[in-house]
């Protein structure tokens, strides 16, 4: 039981007095806080500035244009840009599919691993490994070894059983990328859900058994509700990382249609080839605003997690 006496010691120092208890409490926090603000917020502010200009890389265009202030011109163009909308839609599909699939598969794996069997530690080690790999390596492995039309294992197996080769990456770019993301992130979800399963008190499960519930009934009525905060946390953390997926796209498809998500689109617009920094910044700002909206929603999930902590 975590001590919630922490709240009892919240400072009531005098405002403004630099040596008061309140400021002495804040002091240890400041280095980390200031650092994060400086490195993450300042570039963001600069981006806002650029987004209001028509900044381009002058070396890339034939007719040099002077950089001038264009107000909200960039923003207006965003909403009529079909590629941007497509990138948004691809982002949503990619993130939702990857998060949901890795959560489901991760839960199934966690259930498998939740009891002792011969070699349990070994199998768990194997399952964790994809999460430890470099995302670029993971993407390369799937691109070259598994999906490749020329020497991919999957196609060799398909041919062996009598089917034609499938050009996975060219025909199913989004599916290929989701495969790699799910492969890497399932272990992460599995560990979180496993922690959830193991935090269930065993006497409650025994009681349910004595009361007549079978394995499936216990899972549905007791375990799943118990797992809910863990699943929510996994989905939240996973989404935070997966929505920013970049490496896999760069390696596998180079951003073809159907596999370009927002980060990759912004990248293409700026230093990835478009060099239209002004408009790219505007795209980025729009994305940030969306993120904040979603983050506020996520805040509600997080606060319910914090609330549980208070009660514990």
């Amino acid at each position: 039981m975590t001590a919630t006496a922490a709240d009892a010691t919240l400072a009531r120092g005098k405002v403004g007095d630099p040596f008061s208890s309140a400021w002495r409490r804040r002091l240890p926090l400041l280095p980390a806080l200031l650092y994060v603000v400086a490195i993450t917020q300042l570039p963001f502010l600069v981006s806002i500035y650029y987004s209001l200009t028509n900044l381009k890389d002058k070396t890339q265009s034939l007719i040099p244009e002077p950089t001038k202030f264009v107000g909200v011109e960039n923003y207006r163009r965003i909403f009529s840009d079909p590629f941007f909308r497509q990138a948004m839609w691809t982002s949503v599909k990619m993130t939702v599919l990857s998060v949901v699939l890795s959560l489901i598969i991760g839960t199934l794996f966690a259930i498998l691993l939740d009891r002792r069997f011969f070699g349990q530690g070994f199998i768990r080690t194997l399952l964790i490994t994809p999460f430890l790999l470099m995302p670029v390596v993971a993407a390369l492995i799937w691109k070259q070894q598994m999906f490749s039309s020329l020497f991919g294992v999957l196609n060799k197996v398909l041919n062996f059983v009598g089917f034609n080769s499938v050009a996975f990456i060219s025909d199913h770019p989004l599916g290929s990328i989701v495969t790699v993301l799910v492969w890497q992130w399932t272990p992460f979800m599995m560990l979180i859900v496993l922690a959830g399963l193991q935090s269930q008190p065993s006497d409650v499960l025994e009681a349910a058994n004595v009361d007549g519930a079978n394995g499936l009934g216990i899972f549905r009525q007791l375990t799943l509700p118990h797992l809910r905060p863990y699943l929510e946390l996994g989905a939240l953390l996973g989404a935070i990382f997966i929505v920013q997926a970049f490496d896999a796209i760069d390696v596998m498809t180079g951003g073809g249609p159907g596999s370009t998500n927002i980060p990759y689109y912004v990248y293409q617009e700026s230093i990835g080839g478009g060099f239209r920094y002004g408009s790219a910044s505007a795209y980025a700002i729009v994305v940030v605003i969306f993120s904040i909206i979603i983050a506020t929603f996520a805040l509600r999930v997080l606060s319910s997690l914090f609330k549980d902590e208070e009660r514990a």
């Binding site: 919240l10 240890p28 530690g121």
Partner: protein, 287 residues
């Protein structure tokens, strides 16, 4: 049923032996399938290029590709320099992350400030902002200050990437320290530094180790900033791997060897510290 067979059943007797054995077998099947792409790649790294391309095994296995990959050609990124760069960047950034995160976690867990919930949310929210959104301004200023191609710029950025996660996780580990110990230390008049050292750290040490491991994983595997802020010849391990992707022909075995080398340190660290990382992921995120 013997005891050995029953052990590991959670719901008492009645779980048929077949079911228990079946689940164990299924777990083995799943585990082996899941690791297959990795295992196959490692296997390929020992083949010759012809064998790799054709997925055959006519010419036997050797370490040949590994030595090919270790020797650098002029103008391209060498293994030694990429490895050193990665090592330095990861080590320095992780150490600094811990140095910043420990006091911050103290201020959010042990003698919490009033607005600890807001601060914590702020830290996490910095991860909502896409990395690509800020790359251009960062590039501009990095260029201005002659930081392109240096380890310094990566260190600075990796600290910002890992700090929120570290603060969040270490804070939860600090919450695990029994209140009475801290109060006893306060009565004894110790200051923050000594409290940390003699009371809090020993208890939270495993959790802090797990946090450090996660920071190392994310920093070592980071690709985007390393790619954008470096010249082709001066970057870190992820870029060294992609530099082995050749357009001149397929060097699948060589690439497999490069991938294996690049991922090995973090994979081994993750395997060794597995239990701690599990505990870390679950406690740090959930308690």
């Amino acid at each position: 049923m013997t005891d050995e067979e029953r052990r590991g059943t959670r719901l008492g007797i009645g779980e048929r032996r077949a079911v228990v054995a079946g689940i164990g077998a299924l777990a083995w099947l799943v585990g082996l399938l899941w690791i297959f792409p990795v295992a196959w790649t490692v296997f390929t790294s020992f083949k010759t290029e012809e064998d790799a391309a054709a997925q055959t095994l006519h010419q036997g296995l050797s370490f040949g590709r590994y030595s090919d990959v270790s020797h650098s050609t002029t103008g391209t990124l060498s293994l030694q320099s990429a490895f050193t760069n990665s090592l330095v960047v990861v080590a320095v950034s992780t150490v600094i992350v811990l140095l910043l995160a420990l006091p911050a976690a103290y201020a959010l867990a042990i003698r919490p400030i009033h607005k600890w919930r807001d601060v914590l949310f702020f830290f996490i929210s910095t991860k909502f902002l896409p990395v690509v959104a800020s790359i251009f301004p960062i590039y501009v200023y990095a260029e201005k200050w002659n930081l392109i191609g240096t380890r310094t710029v990566l260190i600075i950025l990796y600290i910002a990437i890992n700090l929120p996660l570290a603060v969040w996780m270490i804070r939860s580990f600090f919450r695990e320290v029994p209140r009475e110990l801290i109060e006893a230390a306060e009565i004894d008049g110790t200051n923050l530094f000594n409290q940390l050292r003699s009371v809090i750290l020993p208890i939270a040490a495993p959790g802090i180790a797990a946090t450090a491991l996660l920071c190392v994983i994310f920093a070592w595997n980071e690709y985007f900033y390393a790619l954008q802020l470096n010249f082709a010849s001066g970057s870190t391990m992820p870029q060294w791997v992609t530099s082995n992707v050749s357009t001149r022909g397929n060097f699948l075995a060589k690439l497999s060897a490069a991938s294996t080398i690049a991922c090995l340190p973090v994979v081994l660290a993750g395997w060794a510290a597995q239990k701690r990382m599990i505990r870390g992921l679950s406690m740090g995120a959930l308690k």
